[in-house]
Amino acid sequence: MLSNTGNILLIGSIVSTFLIVYLAYQSIKERSFQIKKNIIYCSFFQITFVISSFLLLIFAFIFSDFSLLAVYQNSHTAKPLFYKISGVWGNHEGSMLLWINIMVLFSYLFFVFNNKINTVFSLYTLVVQNILILGFLIFLISDSNPFFKILPTPIEGLGLNPILQDPALAIHPPLLYLGFVGSSIYFSAAVAAILSNSNGKNFALSIKKWVLISWSFQSLGIIVGSIWAYYELGWGGFWFWDPVENASLIPWFCMTALAHSVLVLEKRNYLYNWVLILSLITFISSVTGTFLVRSGILNSVHTFANDPSRGLYILIFLSLMILFSFIIFFKRRINDQFNLNPISKETFILSNNWFMMFYLATVFVGTIYPIFTQVLYNTNISVGPPFYNQVIAPILIPFLIFMAVGPKIGWMKSNFIAFKPFFIIIVLSLLINFFISYFLKSYNLISNLIVVSSLFLILHSLKDFISNFKSNSYINLASFFSHLGFGFLIFFIILNHNFSEEFDLNIKVGETKKIGNMEIKFNNLKIENRKNYNAVIGDFNIQDFQRNYLKNLNPEIRVYENPQTLTFESAINTNLKQDIYLTMSNIDGSDFYNIKFQVKPFMLWIWFAAFLTASGGLIRVFLKK
């Protein structure tokens, strides 16, 4: 019953999407410069169908309707309501439906907001976007139908992977999807701008808001994802340069570059070609990332049910998308002549793009290189954190400095840069860095330079803010927050990296171990029955004689029944200064438990700085000048 309704809704969505493409294309051909009523009706039907199919799936998960394969495979009656709902997008089929929902939503909103400005342009956008939607809808219904029925109806579901039963991970996919699936709208707009010969300034104005929205959500999604990884995976790290993380980071680089260069296009009408390219590759890289993750050709922490036929479909779709956007772009080349003044905002914004492309190239090549060596040389290699850290870290130094100076420079002017405040700030940052490393702990040259340049960025941003505030001139809050936040982010990450302490040891119940100035006592072990799992809870006392504190931590080993899995829950004591992080795991055939004990300074500040960075985008969207 539910299955049939769902399928009808999906078919309704396909029909209305197809009609939109057809009708919009007709109006373009007829050169009618008014939006026809029936296009608006169709769009309305489309969004209604798509959203109700999604709601229907949520409904099926809430009421555990196991006649649907997707529900049977990913849900269980004993699961809390919240995780029943998040189970909707915790699997391939449901997440594809969410994907389509976001594409349709963005398409609808973009059309509503822009159709009065330039009819031909918005009609073209509608056509392109709906062709994309059609592609994904066909994929959904043919290969990953969330409403697929199983007979006979099972009594109980298989359950959701317990590691995914977590509040942060429940909201992580929707946030991330709003980011990189949202980027489809400026892919479509870019193709439409080329086809309709739209002028650069209008194009910039129409996509700017969408770029910022998707950038903000992408950033939030990445942050929430890494917070989850931090406390749930139990390794104490928050970024692993894992292929799935990289797949979300690559579009983020594109969006960041775009969010900057779109300003140049808007204000100066420069860089039209470049902005078009960025708009195109943002969504292309999103789909590429999805392909890499879903097709299973990469090994990764996060696993989706892998299926080569899915991979094949996405790859063909991706190839067609790239091919057509390339052909369209190269055929109608827009003449884009301009000159740059070396000391101008344009140059600094371009330099942001320059660094972004470098990071993008590093992460992209690092992610796909193992595939190449395997296919071409039949050799497996791993590209992991040491590679990325080594390549990316040194290039952060000039990046941070450019980032500090950029916002203050005016458009096209070649004003002499006042060097005096520079020196004061540099000396100040060097001093702070000196004190940190002198009184706490010394670190290597690259770390030193990164700390100095991040301090430079922080101090410079603050100085600009204060002087603007005093002189009552315009303050760009969005850029201030983002740049300041990013400065803090790098600053705390480097300090955290250098000051973290890790201990790995085996310990028995009742034992006390001493490490340095600290003492770890394993008091006892108890077993508890919880709603859908059993927990083995360790009771540890951590005492630091030097800093004089005593903390009680209770890490857990959870034994889940449906499906049968072990997870290791970390115990974290957070305060402003540091996180004390403890995980334990059993060792087969012995009374000992392996514990990982870490002291990680400034974790809270890293999250705060990351949120501050992301907030800039939202401020810009909602706070009009």
Binding site: G384, F387, S442, N444, N448, D504
Partner: protein, 120 residues
Amino acid sequence: MKNKFLIIILLIFNIKLNANENTGVDTKIFKNLRCLVCQGQTIAESNSDFAQTIKIVVRDKISQGSNEKEIYEFLSEKYGEWIVYKPKFNYLNSFLWISPYIVLILGGYLIFKYFRKRRQ
């Protein structure tokens, strides 16, 4: 002039001071090794049995006087290059290490090209 002098002094001071690295060699090596039986975890992060064994082996090798490179070589001979997270710079991996810098140089050149145009 005074300022420049101060900067140089501070930098030199700091660089000289960084003698000790905080993490031991063993942790550094664990972080560069892949746990083969886990999904994309390093030996340092993994709770698995295999990781425990590798940790013992690496510590043994260190106490026997092997250096980092020798340990990586020993393990990659047994398990393939896949076990090491930081790929060696060799013929096969040269493009991996070089291509980011190609992009960096190319990008710099493209931006610089627009400056030149103006001067002419």
